[in-house]
């Protein structure tokens, strides 16, 4: 492991500790929602990391289709996996917060539904990667990644229209209307810490994928040499 990467991991862990302290101890308790509001410090940063991951996945996939670079494909695979993990966190922490605040676990509101569909699209991407055979995996996966990314704004638009036609009564109570400075402070620290841990995970997964690629190439070479003899 490179020392720079190691140092980054240590820094990330320290940041995570500090931001958790900020979120759980320093930040004031929200008046109407109570302590459950603190989940916001994890929910929103996770959503941000998931979004960034899916965007990186799109860029890496497009670059792969253009240059056929195996490293770009490794980055696409890594970012999709990490993105799905953080998207799962978003989908789990959301209902935990919604149950006491809205009174229900789930509502088919535009943002919730879009997140769920986003999650479904990228899970199907991972399934395709798992089931595709041999060296064509990268191209097939990259093609699907482009489809998924193009689909997201269409999903959001259609579901927003669908739900504005039939408004659901549980909506309202946005937490963005005037955040306490101390809360904002804790939130920003968490955002930074989560971004760092997202980067850590992507880099680790990227290096692993590259190593796998190299082992596979070495195996192929060995088989070719054996055949020549």
């Amino acid at each position: 492991m490179k020392p720079l990467y190691l140092a980054f991991i240590v820094l990330t862990l320290a940041l995570l500790g500090f931001s958790t302290y900020q979120a759980l101890v320093v930040a004031p308790t929200e008046q109407t929602m109570g302590d459950v509001q603190r989940i916001f410090y994890y929910h929103v940063p996770s959503a941000w990391v998931a979004g960034v991951c899916f965007f990186v996945n799109f860029l890496a996939s497009a670059y792969y289709l253009w240059k056929k670079s195996l490293d770009a494909d490794a980055l696409a695979a890594a970012s999709a996996e990490v993105g799905v993990v953080f998207c799962t966190i978003v989908l789990i922490t959301g209902p935990i917060w919604a149950r006491p605040v809205w009174g229900i676990w789930w509502t088919w509101d535009a943002r919730l539904t879009t997140t769920l569909v986003l999650w479904l699209i990228y899970v199907s991407y991972l399934v395709l990667r798992r089931f595709a055979a041999g060296s064509q995996t990268q191209t097939l996966a990259a093609a699907l990644a482009i489809f998924g990314f193009v689909d997201v704004p269409i999903v959001y638009m259609s579901i927003r229209w669908f739900r504005t036609q039939h408004p659901s009564p549980v909506m309202g109570g946005g937490e963005n209307s005037g955040l306490d400075p101390v809360m904002l402070h804790a939130f920003l620290w968490n955002l930074l810490a989560f971004t760092c841990i997202g980067i850590c995970l992507i880099v680790a997964r990227y290096r692993l994928q590259r190593m796998e690629n190299r082992v596979e190439a070495a195996h192929a070479n060995l088989a070719l040499e054996g055949g020549a003899r």
């Binding site: 289709l65 569909v117 479904l120 699209i121 899970v123 199907s124 991407y125 399934v127 395709l128 089931f131 595709a132 055979a133 060296s135 064509q136 191209t139 097939l140 093609a143 699907l144 482009i146 489809f147 998924g148 193009v150 689909d151 269409i154 999903v155 638009m157 259609s158 579901i159 229209w161 669908f162 036609q165």
Partner: protein, 224 residues
């Protein structure tokens, strides 16, 4: 070689094969019929409220039936290495793709035309809104399903579990199109509001994904 003649000759070949075997259309028809019958157990199909869910029901039946046909699209081209031969030929890849899409589109539209009277009879459907709008929704929606379905069938044919893979990757991407089709159909059937937004949505979806498919198909066909 140019796009038009190759597309037409491939399409004519596919249609002739389908006309002689009737594999795709027969399996789709029987499958859709089964779905209609099974759905009728889930709720009282003659109730007045059934019109509220008829849109979803019709499209789920057509979607599942279309997957049956889509899965067979490329299977016959794999035998005797037809796809490999196509790859080394100078014919444009998109001609092959367009021919397959148009072929599947015709099959599914024929299926819908044959099944629609059955739905009307079994579920006592009666449209409050204008019927031409239902036709527009059917044509735009079918194209949305078929253009992506044909493309994803070409992806899934190269994976280990061919038949299972197609719905797994097709359904998540198709969610906005399905939502538009279902809601537009329900709106027209109940006469409650106008489906204009959904028709525009479907048109945008069709244009965007047809372009993406045409841009990427050659890459996927040549993937090694």
């Amino acid at each position: 070689m140019s796009l038009g003649p190759v597309t037409i000759s491939t399409l004519v070949k596919d249609l002739r094969m389908e006309w002689r075997s009737k594999d795709a259309i027969n399996s789709m028809l029987f499958f859709a019929l089964l779905v209609v019958v099974i759905f009728s157990f889930a709720f009282n199909p003659t109730a007045e409220e059934s019109r509220q869910i008829a849109g979803g029901l019709v499209w789920v039946a057509f979607l599942f039936a279309a997957v049956v046909a889509l899965n067979q699209t490329w299977a016959r081209e794999l035998r005797n290495q037809v796809l490999d031969a196509y790859r080394v030929s100078p014919a444009p890849a998109n001609a092959l793709f367009l021919a397959k899409v148009i072929g599947n589109f015709l099959f599914v539209v024929i299926l819908e035309a044959l099944m629609a009277p059955l739905f009307v009879v079994f579920y006592q459907l009666r449209s409050v809104g204008p019927v031409w709008q239902l036709v527009a929704v059917a044509l735009l929606g079918t194209w949305a399903l078929v253009v992506n379905g044909t493309f994803f069938a070409a992806l899934s044919i190269r994976t280990r579990s061919r038949e299972i893979m197609l719905p797994l990757i097709l359904f998540p991407i198709s969610i906005p199109a399905l939502l538009a089709m279902v809601d537009a159909t329900t709106t027209i059937l109940t006469g409650d509001g106008t489906p204009d937004f959904w028709l525009k949505m479907l048109l945008v979806y069709d244009v965007v994904f047809t372009l993406v498919c045409l841009l990427l198909f050659e890459t996927v066909l040549n993937a090694e």
